[in-house]
Subunit: 348 residues, 2 copies
């Protein structure tokens, strides 16, 4: 059987991390990479990654997607370019129409029915017409605050209330994340960014809430979200971030899903640089009230960057094996690490 | 659309618990119950359960399965009669040949390829021939020490070692479990029971180990299991058990799965009455070494009886929707609570 052939679209931290992971796995080849960074275009992926090419075929990073993604040129395209369904849509459509399966890292794509039901429907139809499958996934949304919650409700007779809390550190992240999350801003500038919508914060609460609700059969009538500054009382410094005492070290995102007028799903997600400096330790916590109650914790948090890379690569076989159309994590078998040959997991 | 129709075979603690759960759910009816207990045969399930029948159709418990399970008389049969594949096999075969889907609580059926590969193959073929699906599940094996482990590896690039530990209390259980687990025996009698195979202990390590290994692509070449007495230093009393100081309060089961000569999967499962009396607190713990590491805990443990009941009922839609054949938890979408109408989850 031929190796599984993968194209990576977007060779930033996520895309290049997936390449590193794929190069360690058996039964899979990277057959093309597309990126628009002039520092990368025209270079070998092995040079950019600092990995010995050995006897692998060369892969040159190209800017023009038409040179990379041609009809059935690969089994799957990992699209790591966007956070929002709307901005990712033209790329996803392009790939699907080349009759290749797609995994998107766009947070909103983890459950696009939440905020872009029309585009979700369109992607579903395009995928079906081209006999391929598309999935959005990542560590969160994708696992920690949604799929894992769903999985834990599986041992429950009755669910009354769900709280998912992810306390994480932004310290490992680069300048883009520092900017998106408002690290180092004064409180005033932060509040202005929240008011005018220029600060993104965490993208994914509506997706996680709707994914859980759909899975267990609740109808969410309203979702609220709040975004507050985490103000540090000491100077905090991370490799790419700095917040001086009195300024913003990160963002505390909270969200609520209402069912029959009551808050049934609570999301709590403070993210900041150097949380330990003020006694905050990272972790993922799921507390489900009902019968029986479930109180789960993962300490420290599952690291977001590595987690997203792994989720996307590990879902490749499930997506290739799935029926055509748009799928979400609740439609497919549970994610799992791939320690053997990827070809053994493909049903042909 | 018609309600989902369920037959329950075996109306002990598990089967009757499933009935209680089903009676609270929408879009599903219990259409038959089979049990051989003379105290139950001929009685209404509502009388046995102590639940008002209201306007539901009557269901009388019958001893003769031929009167309960006829061709296509239901959508699914919940078979809660056995722990072992071999002893459950004739019943499962009978149900499949009546062209109904089956969920079995038999621990070995959660991954029958582990210890009964021939019977597993036969069940797969019988199910396919009759265009129905069969699944074995429960809280453990079925979720805590296997599927949940698999799910957590989904966010990992690389897995080096897995430890699954379930510290639980036997206090809620009845006389049968006290006897199976050796509660109250002297150490001498316990050791004799281990030696001659009359003490069952936990059934499920080979199944959990093989399920995990299959999912992530490890080949297990050897499985070892140990069964040690938990000797109490104080008198312990539970509703159905008593262990005096110096005697056996429960059993400490451990198991190991070897991959390439190394222990890669460690299972640790001490179960005892009144663990808190000697400072042991219940919990479920999964520790996965690799990249990134995952350290999960659920405290207290997910209660085993309720958890098994919920897993079996909650998997009904997934089993009805699945392709024909023998499935295991790693083949199907993640389990989830059913808070809405069960009919909405059935693809017809």
């Amino acid at each position: 059987m031929d190796n599984v052939r993968v194209v990576i679209w977007g060779f930033g931290a996520m895309g290049s991390g997936m390449a590193r992971m794929l190069l360690k796995k058996k039964g899979v080849d990277i057959v093309g990479v597309c990126d628009m960074d002039p520092n990368k275009v025209g270079k070998s992926i092995f040079e950019v990654l600092g990995i010995d090419k050995e006897n692998r075929p060369e892969v040159i990073i190209k800017e023009n997607v038409e040179e990379v993604l041609t009809e059935k040129c690969c089994d799957i395209c990992l699209c790591a370019t966007d956070s929002f369904t709307k901005s990712a849509f033209p790329k996803l459509k392009y790939a699907l129409e080349k009759k290749v399966n797609v995994i998107s890292t766009a947070e909103e794509m983890s459950y696009p029915y939440a905020q872009s039901p029309e585009l979700a429907k369109e992607l579903h139809n395009i995928a079906k017409e081209n006999d391929v499958t598309i999935l959005g996934t990542g560590i969160n949304p994708g696992l920690i605050m949604d799929l894992l919650v769903v999985c834990l409700t599986g041992c429950m007779i009755d669910v009354e209330h769900i709280e998912a809390k992810r306390v994480n550190s932004l310290s490992p992240f680069g300048p883009a994340v520092m900017e998106e999350q408002g690290v180092g801003l004064t409180v005033e500038v932060f509040e202005k960014g929240v008011a005018d919508g220029t600060l993104a914060g965490h993208v994914g609460f509506p997706e996680s809430i709707q994914m859980i609700a759909k899975a267990i059969g609740w109808e969410v009538e309203k979702i609220e979200q709040q975004m507050k500054p985490i103000i540090t009382s000491v100077d905090r410094k991370s490799p790419f971030g700095f917040a001086k005492a009195g300024d913003v070290a990160g963002v505390n995102m909270t969200g609520q899903g209402y069912v029959n007028g009551e808050i049934k799903i609570d999301m709590i997600h403070p993210q900041q640089i150097e949380p330990e400096m003020e006694g905050t330790y990272t972790g993922d916590y799921i507390t489900i009230k009902g019968t029986p109650e479930v109180n789960m914790s993962i300490k420290p948090e599952v690291e977001g960057g590595l987690g997203t890379i792994a989720m996307c690569v590990n879902m490749i076989p499930h997506v290739i094996n799935a029926d055509p159309g748009l799928k979400t994590m609740i439609d497919l078998p549970v994610p799992r690490a791939i320690m053997g040959d990827m070809r053994d997991l493909i049903k042909r």
